[in-house]
Symmetry: C2
């Protein structure tokens, strides 16, 4: 069983309760007639059936898909009323429900987590979310009070920090290397907490937010040893780990199902909150993800869902349930992840890396090859610039960014992923006129979206821009 | 233009900022190649097309719908790639977007608000939400700090209070009559604020939450005069009004489009935040609503969406957009609201009222006829009970509720809508063993969901239960 982490709940988390409204549900059996729950009548739903053409994962069709394109498509249909051969109906999935999400899809996700991560304690559970961004904001509410600080990777997903700021929750940057957050860096901060004047009044952080696979923006993936070391620090310092893992299934070197073990899979205490999403494996517009954690936390997250989103869209849930449960199954979904999603991003990653290497002078910029995810974190060697040390690094980087825009190649400025506070006197949205953080000598490139032709052309333009910039 | 209400923003609301990540979007024009935004590649989406059978609102088909059922159905289809004759595509609607929701659906909702409510100031705007529950929780974050109190109807939607509690935001109950919250009650509280010891340290409330049409649970609908009076108090005491109006289109006596004027339509200052949802007009499972408010507040709500749900489900949005924009239009949607939704609930309301009147002894229970919504708020005349005054009213009501359950008729206990604090020593979810609030001598019945046969049988059972209970 999970350890008792209820002392980690925030004021908000500890106060969340089950709604009495839901207490009537157990009374609904036998001959009971309910004039209770305010459910709209399905006769007012203008939707009579729903269907989607989906990629077929039937083994036969799959093998032949290169030959007969039409055979690679299946139709999933959700009828209005429940039918014996269908797991979902619009009457049910478009009605109000409970904050866990619909049973069929939740069960599928729970089974997927069991198969993939085999959690080592018994009372873990899974509920659906509206994607990892919403899930993270709720985990923050579960665990953090105004004035708390959470530990984050020194370069991180900006939306995570934007989630914390308005709630008065701070963050502490932990150093990274090519494998993401370092365990030594994490331990050093916690061992020495309180030793600096600014930490004297701050409660010691108890929560770590990290993106262990194909990290955004650095592309770093934690090795098995790194994961074990991070978990050891978490046990020593009694931390909750938020494992935000949207890029988990974009591991390029997976062979024979050898997925990287996750923090959840190593956790014997129930201290890992794992966030998964269909955004990168099926489509962002699903707005469906799933969260795995100890049952105590899971219940509170459910109550939070019930006073916010209630549950993910019924259209999304019904289509995903029919596709994943009735058509693909666990085997088909896993095959889709490896054969379609992973293969596509592997191909794209290799292509952009090759093009960048071909067109960039390695003295001027470099990157570590990502083994997962969507991103290449390009370090700019500003020390090679003629004006190096005569102007600030940030001035050089802003100059380079502007030249990139002039030459019609766009990457994300490294400072957007910085943990350092932004000055109040400049509008960070004014991206052509500001560059924060003297150490942010990076640009983030993605191979996820552009066409191959565009990636080639962008690499050429970027290489030329670098040559032009460094010779100025 | 709206007045400046920025001083009403909470610590959270005032701190929310536009994400720098979005600042790259304006640079995307001309020959620009972006390796910026981390958008998944649409080739990894396993969805090739989406379609739904919907109720036809073509005038011809509509007139004949009783005759030819098949003709009353249309098909909306969302193709994978953009097509000239389609407003949405899966490539776009299943991709990441901005926190306002997709343009076509947002524009439709904005135009609908303009047509229905004709706001009297210029800089109002509309953005999409994941339904009114999520929207309300975000409005609370926009305006309220821990320790604040907001003004609510004395019987109200329990989820609203459950939204406030975990954030340490209190509530003050305002008296109601058959037309909902009274303006005199609201004014009295504010005129005398600070005069009681418990108010001495509380900041004066600045936010009112109210459900003006077919109120949950009382079924009350505010008259035009009541709305004007409430707005006058809001102007005198400088209040923000949260107009949560999910039952607005369930007005039974609408004739020739004579919808009740809304608080938004009367507001000249920009102090009304109006929450609309498709949950009661199309289906709860859409998880799509829209919020109308001054542009300053609207921007902040957008930033809040962007760090939580991002936007409603792309499946939901694409289907609603195709149905509402391409098929129904404003005229068709309004006709659906009046001819289908309103008519169904009118019929149901009248049926249950008639059955209740037929089978209930009017000396034992009574109700005010609702003119909108889904609910009948049944007052139990406990003073007619032989044990009245010898035991607490709450004991009598709990006894009645148990007898109802024994007799297989379920309604919601009135205390679940009470604003009074619940004792800590009893589990409010244990609904068979607790009845809080000595004044909650009510049961809430809904005519929304049960079949007509069930409503008749439930009325008979309830009438018999009352007879049995009052003769004990």
């Amino acid at each position: 069983m999970a350890k008792d982490f209820s002392s980690f709940l925030s004021l908000e988390g500890a106060t969340r309760k089950k709604s009495p409204l839901k207490s009537l549900i157990p009374l609904m059996h036998g001959d009971m007639i309910s004039l209770g729950g305010g459910l709209p009548h399905p006769s007012t739903f203008p939707f009579h059936s729903l269907s989607a053409q989906i990629t077929s994962m039937r083994p036969a069709a799959h093998q032949q898909k290169a030959v007969v394109a039409a055979a690679s498509s299946d139709t999933v249909t959700v009828p209005l009323a429940p039918q014996p051969d269908k797991i979902e109906s619009l009457t049910a999935s478009l009605q109000y429900g409970i904050g866990t999400g619909i049973k069929s899809l939740r069960d599928f996700c729970r089974e997927h987590v069991r198969l993939m991560h085999q959690p080592q304690y018994q009372d873990w559970d899974v509920i659906l979310s509206a994607g990892n961004t919403d899930a993270f904001s709720k985990v923050v509410g579960l665990l953090c009070n105004r004035g708390d600080k959470i530990l984050v990777e020194e370069w991180t997903y900006p939306t995570a920090l934007e989630t914390l700021d308005p709630h008065g929750i701070g963050h502490v940057a932990v150093e990274m290397d090519g494998e993401g957050m370092t365990a030594t860096g994490l331990r050093r901060i916690l061992d020495n907490w309180g030793s600096t004047p600014e930490q004297a009044n701050d409660p010691k952080p108890r929560v770590v937010y990290l993106i262990p696979t194909g990290q955004n923006p650095t592309g770093a993936t934690m090795s098995v040893k790194r994961r074990m070391d991070i978990l050891a620090v978490a046990q020593d310092h009694d931390l909750i780990l938020i494992e935000d893992d949207p890029y988990y299934y974009l591991q390029f070197h997976v062979e024979g199902g050898s997925w990287m073990p996750t923090l959840l899979s190593m956790d014997t205490d129930g201290r890992v909150i794992r966030l998964d999403t269909f955004s990168k494996t099926l489509a962002p517009g699903c707005r469906v993800g799933y969260m795995s954690m100890n049952a105590r936390f899971c219940d509170t997250m459910q109550y939070h869902n019930e006073v916010t989103i209630q549950q993910p869209s019924g259209f999304s849930q019904a289509i995903l349930a029919e596709m994943l449960v009735s058509h693909w199954g666990q085997e088909g979904y896993t095959r889709y992840l490896t054969d379609n999603v992973r293969t596509e991003y592997l191909k794209r990653s290799q292509y952009l890396q090759t093009e960048l290497k071909t067109h960039i002078n390695p003295k001027l910029a470099s990157f570590i090859e990502p083994s997962a995810g969507m991103f290449i974190w390009i370090k700019i060697h500003v020390d090679q610039h003629p004006r190096y040390k005569t102007v600030k690094d940030s001035a050089l980087m802003l100059d380079l960014f502007r030249k990139c825009v002039e030459n019609n190649v766009l990457m994300v400025p490294g400072w957007q992923f910085s943990c350092k506070p932004k000055p109040q006197d400049v509008d960070p949205a004014d991206v052509m006129n500001c560059w924060f953080d003297e150490d942010a000598n990076y640009l983030r490139a993605t191979f996820a979206y552009a066409s191959f032709e565009q990636m080639k052309e962008a690499s050429i333009r970027f290489g030329q821009t670098l040559d032009q910039f460094f010779s100025a």
